[in-house]
Symmetry: C2
Subunit: 223 residues, 2 copies
């Protein structure tokens, strides 16, 4: 099955699918576009104007990241989702929860004052504290084997890791298991290879462009 | 299986699950909360603070509306999702697309000027034009039998129908098949019974509270 992902280099959502594909050693092509100046063929393909889009076998097209990642999992056995409907539903719910945490990271970056920065940071920490008790004794979300929740959360932890280099985002939060989970995910080869080598520089550039409190305190040269 | 949906009366997302449950003649309980003043037990249940939440068998809890609706479909055969992975993925993608259209309706209601109203209205019409060619000769999304895409879009059409009583939202759009689909959905008993009897009044109240251009032109008494 020919698979082509259309993405842009900073997209954390397509990264989920790249992790799944690398984990399963499934060949695929990835085409990066400039989301701020998308080509006409992309506008034709994507009803929402968003990435990722997945081209399947050259003619079929899928959109919406969670949908794409689950489709990829469906057609490349063994499935990373649990067989039990209730467990599978809970995994899907935590994946959606991870998407809302990704949006919170944008709020942190865009916060314009120290107070707003602290509020958005704490809002994310309170959310991470909701997933902490879901984690067990294994290295990853549901034991030691990678599941789709891991693929969904690794891009989030990668961005928190970059942000954490200059600000301690986890201050005052009780997140021992989340931190261990993040470390285990970021050590995986399929996670490390799921982004372009210049991700860190692109991410710093994006943060600077948003011009928030984080950029002022963390990225600008000390005076 | 004991199923209890936690919702609030205006929520279009829980309505999707109610349609699925009514369609399958599956008994369930629904508990309405005031989302603006949620009880403590709800904050404990919902990691995101959002409705719907589904309690399963009294002790298990699911959150995220698309996840809940798919779980309900999974455990109450026959499944309303296609068996073919690619078709199923496309159905899921159009469900997500429907969610983004629901958010567009809020933008229409909240638009503060005639220009903003027209822009948000046209944005939604352009999106509906993307789903128009997906519709075939059948009454519903994928023929004459209800599928989860139908359950997901019916709440959207119900709200467009209420808004359309005083403003023609479809002006200038080529949406013959979408309009036929909407009519067919709104005529279904499981759709009509999926909301509280006072939905229209509650919806008008919400629109008035948002205080946008639509409320000024459509709801206030003529002078």
């Amino acid at each position: 099955m020919d698979l082509e992902l259309i993405s842009f280099k900073l997209c954390p959502y397509v990264q989920r699918s790249v992790i799944t594909l690398l984990h399963k050693s499934q060949p695929f092509k990835i085409t990066h576009i400039d989301l701020h100046n998308p080509p006409d063929w992309f506008k034709e393909l994507s009803p929402s104007g968003q990435v990722p889009v997945l081209k399947v076998g050259g003619s079929d097209v899928l959109f919406e990241s969670a949908v794409i990642n689950e489709y990829i999992d469906d057609i490349t056995p063994p499935r990373l989702h649990p067989d039990d409907p209730l467990k599978r539903a809970r995994h899907r719910a935590w994946i959606e929860f991870g998407s809302s945490c990704m949006r919170d990271i944008l709020s942190i970056i865009e916060a314009q004052t120290e107070t707003a920065f602290e509020e958005t940071r704490l809002a994310l920490m309170r959310k991470l504290e909701r997933i902490e008790p879901e984690l067990g004794a294994g290295r990853l979300f549901a034991g030691d084997d990678l599941c789709l929740v891991d693929a969904a959360w690794a891009p989030l932890f990668m961005r928190l890791d970059i942000l954490g280099e200059t600000r301690n985002l986890f201050e005052g939060a009780s997140l021992d298991k989340v931190c261990r989970w993040s470390e285990a995910l970021l050590a995986l080869e399929q996670v490390q290879k799921s982004v372009v080598p210049e991700l860190r520089e692109l991410y710093h550039g994006m943060i600077e462009n948003r011009g928030g409190e984080y950029a002022r305190l963390a990225l600008l040269p000390e005076s």
